[in-house]
């Protein structure tokens, strides 16, 4: 039985620089990189050495604690460098790309008629296990688990994020095959949520529970949808996977090749040629946007949850948006006066920006104030459409009170669900960071 989700609380942040609905083939990068830190809790164990040649689909490294969880090369080429940070932690595996890709042949497989074991083996062997995420905790999956359900969100609500309906429009067949494979991985159901745009494309998909989602951000967050459909209790595990990643996974079964095609929306007030670009996972951001000055911030992902990139750094594994916004390292005189500086969006009513709900803003990275004690109440609840008390949960995380965190619903949240709380809260509290630390504590204490 499908269940429609109507979200009322939240905030759709309207920013300047939306991507035009046009797909362009991006120039091929010279180097690509897979970044182990993208896979939370994975400790990489390298399989290939610098100088080795790899095909697209060859294993680069696997998880030290789960040998089946393999991470494969998105392109064919030569391993250029294994970049390490402090304590020899691997942060980037950089591959010099061949001019054209040659693929490792996994062999075609019909997911529907194969055994669950064979399907699971193929998913993890081809590196598609990397696309899966586990809730609770928002971490990489354990290949030995069988989740109680799998959730896919094809709903776009994050600011300027790539429209998933548009991204998937030529990939429906692969998407269907991906769903067929995912069905074999879970003991329960595969849930697919769609918005108006992706419903057009995906309404014919079979083997899923289709849910129609409406409402402001964070309605598109898979965590919010899980909370509304089938909330996670202690001891339960569900998996999530990105919508475009389902098509990549389906392609492995249809063609026997790991084709790491990613459609990126280049967005933001500082971006030129705001369009959709077809490239491979792990592409170099500078090949798309060139060298940008220090006054502009490159964000791999959307402005709420993305990661800051410097010039020549690589786009994140899961990210399908590249946002360029101005840095805000300037002073503003008497910035505290209510009803001044109305060009900066505010969800509070102390700025006239609430009178123009349709207006689009060019926001900077300025913090617009300093961090303070928690004073204002009620503002966090307005942007978290879950049956959870966000401020109390954040305080429990700060205090490291595990029993309280559990009681208040820590298993149901991920940092991205608290991104809007980062944005709106008057005290400039780093809510995503606090939730991440809280989840880390739960992993070490509870597992």
């Amino acid at each position: 039985m499908s269940k429609d989700i109507r979200i009322k609380r939240g905030l759709t942040l309207r920013l300047k620089g939306e991507a035009e609905k046009q797909v362009v083939e991006a120039p091929r990068s010279k180097t690509y990189a897979i970044k182990p830190p993208d896979f939370y809790t994975v400790v990489p164990k390298m399989v290939v050495k610098e100088g080795a040649t790899v095909l697209a689909g060859d294993v680069l490294f696997f998880s030290k604690y789960d040998e089946n969880l393999k991470f494969t090369s998105p392109i064919s080429g030569t391993i250029k460098e294994v970049k390490r940070a402090e304590k020899r932690r691997i942060i980037e595996v950089i591959v010099d790309a061949d001019p054209t890709d040659s693929f490792k042949d996994f062999g075609k497989m019909n997911a529907s008629s194969s055994t669950a074991e064979a399907v699971k083996g193929r998913v993890f062997e081809s590196g598609c296990g990397a696309f899966l995420n586990q809730r609770p905790y928002d971490i990489a999956v354990d290949s030995k688990d069988t989740p109680k359900a799998i959730f896919i969100s094809a709903v776009t609500t994050a600011p300027l994020a790539a429209d998933l309906g548009f991204v998937l429009k030529d990939k429906v067949a692969a998407f269907q095959e991906g769903i067929n494979a995912l069905q074999k991985l879970t003991s329960g159901k595969v849930h697919l949520s769609v918005d108006a745009s992706s419903e057009e494309i995906l309404k014919g998909i079979t083997g899923v529970e289709l849910h129609k989602v409406t409402g402001p951000h964070p309605a598109g967050n898979v965590g919010v949808q899980i909370h509304k459909l089938d909330p996670i209790n202690m001891g339960e595990k569900v998996w999530t996977i990105g919508a475009e990643d389902v098509a990549i996974l389906g392609n492995v079964f249809l063609t026997g090749e790991f084709r790491a095609d990613r459609t990126i929306a280049l967005v933001g007030s500082e971006a030129k040629d705001q369009k959709y670009y077809k490239l491979k996972i792990g592409a170099n951001s500078s090949d798309l946007v060139g060298q940008v000055s220090d006054d502009i911030r490159i964000i791999s992902g959307n402005v709420l949850t993305g990661t800051k990139l410097s010039n020549n750094q690589y786009i994140g594994f899961f990210d399908n948006t590249l946002s360029l916004i101005p840095e805000g390292n300037t002073y503003r005189m008497f910035g505290w006066l209510p009803f001044t500086y109305n060009k900066i969006h505010s969800n509070s009513r102390t700025s006239f920006s609430f009178l123009f709900p349709k207006k689009k803003y060019a926001l900077t990275t300025n913090l617009n104030g300093e961090e303070r004690a928690l004073v204002v109440t009620g503002e966090m609840e307005e942007v978290l459409p879950m049956d959870i008390y966000p401020m109390q949960l954040l305080k429990a995380c700060i205090a490291g009170d595990i029993e309280k965190m559990e009681n208040l619903g820590i298993y149901e949240v991920a940092p991205e669900d608290f991104a809007l709380i980062d944005y709106v809260n008057t005290s400039k509290l780093e809510a995503q960071d606090i939730i991440r630390l809280g989840l880390d504590l739960m992993i070490t204490e509870v597992g």
Binding site: I299, I325, R332, G335, W336, G369, T377, I402, S427, K428
Partner: protein, 396 residues
């Protein structure tokens, strides 16, 4: 304007990290950030942030207080001057306003001076930035005092409120009681002769016999006649604490608080409902064969517009730190404040006005209210877990 910034940056050099005046940085930063919103950019979490910050929120409350303050200055002068024979023909606006301002501005200066001094000292001592909460508290304290209170009493009340009421609990955001009401309660119990009776509410009333200054609640408690109309009570041309009298000016402030969502409309509305219901219950006593007295029989709508009830509800009960934090909790908290305020008014002749004690009482109970509201959420979650797996699994 660029040169101001450059001068400031130059001036701040000795306070920067590693330099000798480093530990005094919070004081200088407080002044700097008052002039300029800093150039800090987001380092983690969301890359863009809302324009609102605590300074803006607090200044909005200060703005909301301005109508009541201006009226309070005028009324402070008017209540005194119109009783003098030389003003029998009417009191010019400026005469009344200047008399009031002459009394009230020094109180505000003392309150801000002493309070901010303590706040700065604690910020330097604890090594955190100066919080803006005192901008509101420092203005509220003089506004709820009788006009003739000596300045040194204001100063001592401020010290007590900030040190014991706030900093002892950890500073802004951690206090249990509303600091401004803590100051008033301290003054009330420490210097009762300056805080109650029928001589303190009108300027100079204690010095000049011809000037009388009984509040409406005082008259009611002593069962004497009330010489004011409901319109007087609503506009506020009555004796009382400095800024509490004018319901209409307070409602103007309330409108700003509610429209900007800085003050909780739930608390304001439910508190007025609570007060009205309690007053209606008292009004109904004669129908039940109980005679009652002047206070119980005082019309319910007039209960809402006299004394400090509306000022307390709008500006003190809505203090987010000491109020209930959950939405349901806010309804309960507000309702009980109004309910108890009128109850204390009627039942306790020693405290003609009940709003101060009602708010302080509910401040103490706010965490309990929140606890039960949140516990309901927790129980819901546990029940769901049991129905999903047949047993409750927990980590601890």
């Amino acid at each position: 304007m660029e040169w101001i910034r450059q001068k400031l940056d130059q001036f701040k050099v000795p306070f920067n990290k590693g330099n000798k005046l480093e530990k005094y940085a919070p004081a200088i930063n407080a002044l700097d950030t008052f002039l300029y919103t800093p150039n800090h950019t987001t380092q983690k979490g969301a890359h863009v942030r809302d324009a609102v910050d605590l300074k803006r929120t607090m200044i909005t409350v200060v703005l909301a207080l301005v109508p009541a303050l201006i009226f309070g200055m005028w009324n402070g002068g008017y209540q005194y001057l119109h009783q003098l024979p030389e003003y029998a023909g009417g009191v010019p606006f400026m005469d009344a306003f200047l008399h009031g301002a002459w009394k009230i501005l020094p109180m505000i200066a003392v309150s801000y001076g002493v309070g901010l001094g303590i706040e700065f000292a604690f910020a330097i001592f604890r090594g955190h930035e100066v919080n803006e909460g005192y901008l509101v508290t420092g203005l509220l304290i003089p506004m709820i005092m009788p006009i003739d209170i000596p300045l040194w009493m204001v100063a001592i009340s401020v010290v007590f409120a900030v040190v014991i009421g706030k900093e002892a609990f950890g500073g802004t955001g951690m206090n249990i009681l509303n600091p401004a009401l803590t100051a008033r309660a301290f003054a009330f119990f420490a210097y009762p002769t300056f805080m109650s009776g029928n001589k303190v509410w009108v300027s100079e009333a204690s010095n000049i016999d011809a000037v009388s200054g009984e509040t409406i609640l005082g008259s009611l408690a002593s069962s004497s006649d009330v010489p004011y109309s409901a319109m007087d009570m609503f506009t506020g041309i009555i004796p009382g604490s400095i800024a509490e009298t004018s319901t209409i000016c307070i409602l103007a402030g309330a409108l700003l608080l509610v429209l900007t969502k800085v003050g909780s409309w739930r608390i304001i509305l439910s508190a007025f409902i609570g007060a009205a219901i309690m007053a209606l219950i008292f009004n109904a006593l004669p129908n039940m064969g109980i005679e009652g007295n002047a206070l119980t029989n005082f019309p319910w709508y007039q209960h809402l517009i006299i004394g400090g009830l509306s000022f307390g509800i709008v500006f003190m009960a809505t203090d987010p730190v000491s109020a209930a934090q959950t939405t349901k909790g806010k309804w309960i908290y507000g309702f009980l404040i109004g309910f108890f305020a009128v109850m204390i008014r009627v039942f306790n002749p020693a405290y003609p006005e009940g709003i101060m004690l009602a708010i302080l009482l509910m401040n103490v109970f706010a965490p309990v209210i929140d606890h039960y509201v949140i516990q309901a959420n927790i129980n819901r979650r546990k029940k769901r877990a049991v129905s999903a797996s047949g047993q409750l699994k927990t980590a601890v």
